[in-house]
Symmetry: C2
Amino acid sequence: MKISINADYMLRAVFELAQSKSDKPIPISQIAKSQHIPSKFLEKLFRRLKQYDIVKAIKGKNGGYFLKHKPEEITMHQIIQAAEGQVKIHNCLERSKETTCRNIDNCIFREFWHKFNIHIDEFLKSYTLNDFLTSK
Amino acid sequence: MKISINADYMLRAVFELAQSKSDKPIPISQIAKSQHIPSKFLEKLFRRLKQYDIVKAIKGKNGGYFLKHKPEEITMHQIIQAAEGQVKIHNCLERSKETTCRNIDNCIFREFWHKFNIHIDEFLKSYTLNDFLTSK
DNA sequence: TTAAAACATACTAATTTAGTAGGAATTTGT
DNA sequence: ACAAATTCCTACTAAATTAGTATGTTTTAA
Ligand code: FES
Ligand code: FES
């Protein structure tokens, strides 16, 4: 029940975009360097962030990335979702996955996992990037 | 950020102990069969449950396991902790582990992960085995 | 004394996570 | 026009974790 390193990397990367005062896009190379993340690996993570509508890319020379929305509009939930595909605490909660529980139709624990998941979602949605900016 | 199958197995096994009306210990073989868990694998999990003071073993013929405490005294937190060693959402929160964050002394995210962890702990501590028994 | 149980340890297989390699496509400044 | 810097794309590999087996030993009740 751990956050993946992807989420950690992505959060720090996106935070760096949020901090930027520049009007120019920030290239991956720069973030990779300052956050000590392998550059090629970060590239992949940024493509993910783009898919999930968190950042906007500018291609070509002097290109790079911007946040697509204001920091106060980007929640931790979005970032972790982009990193992990889904925020689901238990296999049963994922669509189209086999469950280990044979008793799925009246499973005693299903509701518990579901509530747990909601609890986590709510927490993650209650934080935005802005909360980290202002705390500096 | 998933619950391991171990936690799932353990929960269902421990629940089966809680349900038992018998005054005799329940052998692993029985639970393995009814829950479709490989028997030898379950053995290992039960040794874990014992270490974490959740069950009590009776050795030898006609032996097996009892819950060590009343169902209302056994929390989900305890069970998941037994399964996963620790309930820590992020590496930084584990004692004696390297963190990916270089900026550890004044890391902006550390507090967030910590709060997240507390939030999860509180939820897991608010459920006991008894909650599942009565909901049947 | 035998059978059924827990206990122990070491190994293996499967899956997931983290990271690399090698480019193609796009854009800008010179 | 062209070189450089960038994103984008796909496939591969390495490392780590998780899940499961194998092969017993020890304990105890009948
Ligand atoms: S259906 Fe998921 S634990 Fe039962
Ligand atoms: S010290 Fe853990 S993310 Fe910074």
